[in-house]
């Protein structure tokens, strides 16, 4: 039966110009409708998936602590919670930054992400160095590259002291986009 159907559908047809025109019309109509259906379903679908591209995250300042919580000349890890996180983010809403108190009123907040491939750098107190466990990137206490493959210094977040609080502009993962 399958064979017969195939044969009949592929058999040459004797068609009048009107029939050809009608056939072409339905052919194009069907293709157009399929395209429309695809767009109706596909546009929101793709939009939903790629939404993170266009998601504007408002720049928010988050409090890291009071100035007295940090000793001058010391670098410490501070946990920051993303204020824009989704409710089910759980512990992944947290992130870590390295905060260095340079002087009485000067702070530097370093991203914990190595500028090489994003691994978390660790602070070695005695050595006054940041080191990356992945490929051995080393940074000085001011974030500049000391050794290894990192192409850039550690990313610095904006920091301010307001109303007796040390605040940092919301943490994002800095992406190195240069080859």
């Amino acid at each position: 039966m399958d064979t017969n159907l195939t044969e009949s559908s592929s058999a040459p047809l004797t068609e009048t110009p009107e029939e050809i025109s009608r056939r072409r019309f339905f052919e194009k109509l069907s293709i157009a409708l399929v395209g429309l259906c695809t767009a109706i379903v596909g546009v929101p679908l793709v939009g939903f998936i790629v939404a993170p591209f266009f998601r504007k995250v408002p720049e928010k300042w988050v409090t890291l602590g009071k100035p007295d919580d940090f000793q001058i000349g010391k670098t410490v890890a501070v946990t920051v919670t993303d204020p824009s996180s989704l409710p089910w983010a759980g512990v992944t809403a947290k992130s870590g930054v390295w905060l260095r108190r340079v002087s009485e009123d000067s702070f530097i907040a370093f991203s914990a992400n190595c500028t090489h491939l994003g691994c978390p750098v660790r602070w070695l107190e005695g050595a006054d160095l940041f080191m990356c466990p992945c490929h051995g990137g080393v940074y000085y206490s001011d974030g500049n590259v000391a050794a290894g493959p990192p192409p850039k210094p550690l990313f610095r977040y904006d920091v301010r002291v307001v109303n007796g609080e040390v605040q940092m502009k919301q943490a994002i993962v800095p992406i190195s986009t240069t080859l």
Partner: protein, 615 residues
């Protein structure tokens, strides 16, 4: 009963077309398709294992960033067969990667990608890429600290893609940072998108195998000619072909059975990869690493020069992918036999060596600092106070030990510095430490950037420490007559000059590197006086040892003979034996050992330490 069963079966078969569906299993294949041809079936079965175990795991796994880790802990520790299933899924993935690699190598060596099976090969290459994608996304679903940071690494790598890099990176992260949207998209990709695509491509791949037939084993001197190949192949099948099922498939079944048993045994006895800490990005003590099948690429990125890294990171996978995809386009005819295609053997061997070598390097990761480096022990430093001791402490505290080895302790990121004093002069060593060099940070005290070896005193301590460890192959013993007004070494000795002033004996090493002086009379004679042994009037100096075994043999000599301090083979009465092995740790070790019998550890240890201070 049997008649009823046959009736039911015939009805179902007629309505469902089961026999027709299974008929491809009986397609005719070359009878010489033997053990080399089992890897494709093994790959397919490994994939089926993955699907089955993955579906089972999904019954308990929650793809939420906040809960996935807890569900994995539950699956591993509490759910019946959960640990086994996780293991099955992990080792199934490993088996699939291995089998696909073997299948690919066999196809390449047999020239089976040539006409008319070019697209069979191409779809196989795409399946390899999807498999690796499944492996990577699967590792991320193991939503622990390593997985979370691996997402960041993946995003950072994607960020290097020209123009769209930042967008792709944000897409991977599910936003600007890891969060609630991160895991669920990898779950969707791993569980729905990639498997769906793989089902389609596996179907296409198998269809192409059926359409073009299983390639016959190559014969040297019988090249593929597209004009005649199909006719020749048909003729071969007519002449000597056998139905795949069951004539040829039994080998596949045996190998597949062995594979499944191996996977199950590994899952049961070794178990799944351990979960790291929770995926809390504020835990910065993480060390993200890919699973073994991508570890070689991780190593490659660590070993290539930084200047070209970005290009390699993006370009290498693309280049390899394109090469593999287009191999059958530019090499679709001619000889198939590997014996006539030595370059094909070379490509496979070099690929295996390269991937294996990089994997091994990735396992070792010598480029990673050792964050677990403990302070050097007294045995290694060889002193408990003084410049050498302080230098040894600084070597750890300033992070040197994270990257450098000293006598096997420390990191491997930088060169082994155990014998650096043999290679560099003091000036060069100081220049290296202060100014830095290729791929090392500088430690200038006034750099203001941290990492400095503060004062000049600190620098000299580090220097003294490094200087105290050298390879001096002049293993020698000399005996000095203490009673002589001008002490002279009686035989070849590590000392080039000896002087005596009051109770202080000073010797200078022949290479002028390590002058020693200590109050011999005060410390040593004091000790020996208090001991039951006779007064020492001779000092024996044992040269430093080039390796531990030699040093220890000296130690055994002394240790076995605690009276050796007096009954040494020194021709004089009352011989003091000072084992100044140039590696101080040996000295302390020996002295301590001997003094366990001698009864006055503190006195001699003090003498030794004084000696260190006088360096």
């Amino acid at each position: 009963m049997i008649k009823l069963f046959k009736t039911v079966w015939n009805w179902l078969d007629d309505r469902l077309g089961i026999s027709v569906l299974l008929s491809p299993m009986k397609h005719i294949a070359p009878q010489d398709s033997k053990w080399w041809y089992v890897f494709g079936s093994a790959t397919l079965v490994a994939f089926i294992v993955q699907v089955a175990s993955g579906v089972a795991l999904a019954f308990s796994y929650i793809s939420s960033s906040s809960q996935a880790y807890e569900t994995l802990v539950f699956i591993t520790n509490n759910a019946p067969f959960g640990r086994f299933l996780r293991g099955l899924h992990y080792y199934g993935a490993s088996a699939m990667v291995l089998m696909i690699g073997a299948h690919m190598a066999q196809t390449f060596l047999f020239g089976a990608y040539k006409f008319p099976r070019e697209m069979t090969w191409t779809t196989g290459i795409l399946l390899l890429a999807f498999t690796l994608g499944m492996g990577f996304t699967g590792q991320l679903l193991r939503w622990d600290s390593t997985a979370a940071w691996s997402v960041v690494v993946a995003a950072e790598q994607a960020g290097r893609i020209p123009i769209i890099g930042d967008w792709v990176a944000r897409f991977i992260l599910g936003g600007n940072t890891i969060g609630g949207a991160t895991l669920s998209r990898f779950f969707a990709i791993h569980v729905f998108v990639l498997p769906g695509i793989m089902f389609a491509f596996i179907g296409l791949h198998v269809w192409l195998v059926l359409r073009h037939g299983i390639s016959e084993p190559p014969v040297a001197g019988k090249p593929v000619d597209p004009a005649t190949y199909r006719a020749e192949y048909e003729e071969l099948l007519k002449k000597s072909g056998k139905p795949f099922w069951p004539d040829l498939a039994w080998r596949d079944v045996i190998v597949v059975t062995a594979l499944i048993i191996a996977i199950a045994v590994a899952a049961f006895f070794i178990g799944p990869p351990a979960l790291d800490r929770p995926p809390d990005p504020s835990i910065l003590a993480a060390d993200p690493r890919p699973d073994w099948y991508l570890l070689w690429y991780f190593a490659l990125l660590a070993l290539i020069p930084a200047k070209i890294e970005g290009y390699v990171m993006i370009g290498f996978p693309v280049l390899i992918g394109l090469l593999l995809l287009f191999v059958p386009i530019w090499n679709h005819k001619g000889e198939r036999a590997a014996s006539r295609r030595p370059w094909a053997i070379a490509v496979v061997c070099l690929s295996v060596i390269m991937i294996g070598g990089l994997w091994w390097e990735g396992q070792q990761s010598p480029w990673s600092p050792n964050f677990e480096a403990q302070p050097l022990s007294e045995k290694v430093v060889g002193a408990t106070s003084g410049p050498v001791f302080k230098g040894g402490q600084l070597f750890h505290d300033k992070g040197c030990l994270n990257c450098h080895l000293i006598q096997g302790f420390g990191g491997r990121r930088g060169p082994d510095l155990t014998y650096i004093a043999d290679k560099l002069t003091r000036d060069n060593l100081v220049i290296r430490i202060v100014n830095g060099g290729t791929n090392i940070q500088f430690f200038s005290s006034d750099s203001g950037k941290g990492g400095h070896v503060g004062s000049g005193g600190q620098l000299s301590w580090v220097f003294a420490f490094l200087k105290s460890i050298t390879t001096d192959t002049n293993i020698s013993t000399c005996t000095v007559d203490w009673n002589s007004s001008t002490p002279v070494a009686t035989n070849h000795c590590v000392v080039s000059s000896i002087s005596k002033s009051g109770g202080t004996l000073t010797f200078t090493r022949h290479d002028d590197r390590l002058p020693l002086a200590f109050d011999f009379q005060q410390h040593f004679f004091g000790f020996f006086h208090r001991s039951a042994n006779a007064q020492a009037n001779c000092v024996r100096i044992i040269g430093r040892c080039a390796d531990r075994s030699v040093a220890e043999s000296g130690g055994q000599m002394l240790g076995l003979n605690d009276s050796g301090f007096t009954n040494d083979d020194c021709p004089l009465n009352g011989v003091a034996q000072l084992a100044h092995v140039a590696r101080p740790r040996i000295v302390v070790e020996l002295v301590e050992h001997s003094l366990a019998h001698g009864g006055d550890f503190a006195a001699v240890l003090g003498a030794h330490l004084r000696q260190q201070e006088l360096h």
